[in-house]
Symmetry: D2
Subunit: 304 residues, 4 copies
Amino acid sequence: MDYKEVIDNIYNEVKPLFGQGKVADYIPALANINPRQYGIAIATLDGQIVGTGDYQTKFSIQSISKVFTLSMVVRHMGGDLWKYVGREPSGTPFNSLVQLEHEQGIPRNPFINAGALVVTDKVMNLYHRPKEAILQFVRSVAGNDDIYYDKTVAQSEFEHASRNQALGHFMKSFGNIDNDVDSLIDVYCNQCSIAMTCEDLAKSFLFLANHGTNPHNNENILTVSRSKRLSALMLTCGFYDESGEFAFRVGMPGKSGVGGGVVAIIPSKLSIAVWSPELNEHGNSYMGIETLERFTTNIGISIF
Amino acid sequence: MDYKEVIDNIYNEVKPLFGQGKVADYIPALANINPRQYGIAIATLDGQIVGTGDYQTKFSIQSISKVFTLSMVVRHMGGDLWKYVGREPSGTPFNSLVQLEHEQGIPRNPFINAGALVVTDKVMNLYHRPKEAILQFVRSVAGNDDIYYDKTVAQSEFEHASRNQALGHFMKSFGNIDNDVDSLIDVYCNQCSIAMTCEDLAKSFLFLANHGTNPHNNENILTVSRSKRLSALMLTCGFYDESGEFAFRVGMPGKSGVGGGVVAIIPSKLSIAVWSPELNEHGNSYMGIETLERFTTNIGISIF
Amino acid sequence: MDYKEVIDNIYNEVKPLFGQGKVADYIPALANINPRQYGIAIATLDGQIVGTGDYQTKFSIQSISKVFTLSMVVRHMGGDLWKYVGREPSGTPFNSLVQLEHEQGIPRNPFINAGALVVTDKVMNLYHRPKEAILQFVRSVAGNDDIYYDKTVAQSEFEHASRNQALGHFMKSFGNIDNDVDSLIDVYCNQCSIAMTCEDLAKSFLFLANHGTNPHNNENILTVSRSKRLSALMLTCGFYDESGEFAFRVGMPGKSGVGGGVVAIIPSKLSIAVWSPELNEHGNSYMGIETLERFTTNIGISIF
Amino acid sequence: MDYKEVIDNIYNEVKPLFGQGKVADYIPALANINPRQYGIAIATLDGQIVGTGDYQTKFSIQSISKVFTLSMVVRHMGGDLWKYVGREPSGTPFNSLVQLEHEQGIPRNPFINAGALVVTDKVMNLYHRPKEAILQFVRSVAGNDDIYYDKTVAQSEFEHASRNQALGHFMKSFGNIDNDVDSLIDVYCNQCSIAMTCEDLAKSFLFLANHGTNPHNNENILTVSRSKRLSALMLTCGFYDESGEFAFRVGMPGKSGVGGGVVAIIPSKLSIAVWSPELNEHGNSYMGIETLERFTTNIGISIF
């Protein structure tokens, strides 16, 4: 299949939709971005890399980073992690405290903010220098050492982190956070600030399409079973409270971020990353979702 | 692959687990069943049918019937249905009213009881004789006319339907139920009482594994797109508040019922039905879940 | 104190506020009422009865009837009632099911609809002919045999009782309703339909101002202790989710109904009833609340 | 009335109940207290002060301090405060975040922790040195300069303040906290650590029984109207989710703290303070509630 042609066609169909969504505005560093940017990149297991539009422009990956930290922790802790965070869709917005209160400080899944904070807390337990470790992991799976924290974004996130501070202290009150909450929020704001391109992201998710092994260097990152389970988690929980809708319309395991990035995989085949900063009402990239729905329809491949 | 050998092996491994779960006890007609029954059946797209254990014993399909009524309604209404019922995992128990109150009488998805009642209400709008129509649909997809309502179970359900009566009246207060609530509960209790064997069930789900077309007679029941979407719904919502866990551990779209039945599909390949009446704490067949987890692991095929 | 002068003055001050609220519109029989009606009546323990405006016009007492049925039940059951219904403010709207689900079918207090249904269910246990018994009780405390059910209102309520049907079936599913739900709703819709005047209502609440004894005929209806406790309940729970606000601004135990009636007492002194059909956003009479706030301020008597 | 005799009798009746409750154990400084302590003090508007048992032993007033800070803020801000905190009973535990999430960061009332934090935040806005200002206010209303912060308790509270930190950050995320959250928690932990005796507390609440004017020195602290409203708030919200029950059984406006203190008033008459560290399941002093119920019954005076 000529994936370049496929994404070029979709790019031209979707581009006129600029203006349907709204750029994230909770921090100035994200609010000031030019909304009319749009890129698509695909990486296949047989080594192709194709892209179109702004696919080589760096953007803030935000919540997509949760997949990287989760991979790091599952690699070391395996099933022990699931004592501290669940695996069920949350049914409530990504930054909700209600569910936590009813369930004794155990977040529903690792992709809502509370769950991601638990995962980052474990990264801090596992690594003496957690920020360096996270960056190293991301560079390694992306096969690109030119990936950095965007310190302006990280600082801006930290200054507007009241809700995440609340989540952290709240879970600590239940005994489900080990580290100092301020330090935890610092690491978390940094991981969210990582800047990558669509090409980087597509490459960095290939190990999940490849059942846990990095196809670039054959490094085994996760066992087959853990990799499949992580994919199942992305399918059921990767798109906040639009996860069911995404599975229904698109049917690919994936993860989105409020920076406008979306990345998804077709197991045993490829990974695809889309970026466009305008978000729909669920906080997912408006054009990213449109792009993936057309992609899965056009190529006629889905997991279902 | 020799599916008969696969399921025989699993049957022998899982059989010693009798006693780990607990038979549904909310109605006498289910509570009095012999718990030590266990059967497995597989139907493949290339025409094989294999079974082991009590795979030819009829049991009450209960919530599995929700897939049949949903198929009937989606076939006629398509996307219009989704104005009345959502497609997101509920995050709350199957018979909860809390979510309904917060979301104006629109149930989260068609597999929680509230959502299934909305679907049955639509069946009643579409068919003059809804009970006859449901039975005819089930017989048709199963390729077996020897399928009936178990009137003892239906009557027993009706007499213990206070919670479902509450759901019906509650949604009616929001204008989301068209028919008389007593009549609705009557049809619903009947559809839940349908008695089928594992073999029947495996055959009746093959059209979903086959992207909407019944492989027995080439009848097109759902479009490819609708069939895939229904599978996505089963994956994200088919096992009550254990759906995420099921996707995580098993990774097959499927549906369970409190009668102890579980049925799941591998798209483009096969459907598998398991029955054992003892339920785990989420209301899913304890041995059914165990069986499917081993099955997906042993055959090395999964959607992820 | 010249109560006639006091209420005449308030009447003239408040009358220009017509149009600030909105008549209850959930049933036609209430929606069609002329909104520009307004009456005040006071009955004192020393035998005075004064009134102004439409104080001799009958209106639908609706939820005010909950005080009568509660008195009937507490008289017979005493503290045993509190196993089936709580005594805490609900913190949620009057017809909410959320709290019931979290607290196993035990309503928070007898003045939210769920709690009132439990109380009426007990009336049905205590009396062979509950509708006759309720009417007889109300006539007796009001000292007026010319009080009836408004059958048009009762019928209209019954036809729009989906939410109360839901509450009844829901509590029955927890085992907290003894009688048939349809019969319960019938009795409940009738008690809400009772038509009384402000004068009737003021007189009928005097036994509560008089610590349980009807001052007209010295009949002991409740013990001193039970009467005081019922007053405490009215203060903390009598005005739906505006109860705290009412205690804060007015500081009198009382009860309101969506027919626009409000009745309150000053213990050891008097009872006052106000009627005006326009409701504020909490479902309480807009002008009724205004009237009582001015009354308590003007006469300089409050329980605090 | 011989109040000394009244409380001596109650003291002797209630003392055998030691062991029914459980000392607060969330911080070591409170957990290590000797549970078998019990004191009662009464201060009347006509100048009597009587006490029995450990009524001159200092203890940690904890949440009782919320009445002092609320008085300070209402004195300056009047009704403007109610834009930031409500006046309705909460229906949920004192440290819940659920209600806050549903109501946009506005706490239900000033006596749940979230509401008290909003009030303390306003104290910080009003006073350059808030800790000094609070202490000065308390010493003034108690007529005793020998009242201090217990720095050991304050420090211990601060080290176990995760839940309150969460509440503070959460409300800040809604824009309902002005000051730095760490500083806010510091002031709040200090106000909770104030050590007073039953005698001090009874004297310090007399201005509320006296409709806002300190009877010791005729200083007007609150207007009559504000004082009555504060009493109404104590009645409806002063005892966490046991407030309705307390109004029902005891019928006095009051406030409790997890240090085991309870203080209540009979308007125009007296204030009474009880202390005993063992708490019931709602976090109120077991023997304190028992004492006040007997007191109001024995003296035959109540607001109802």
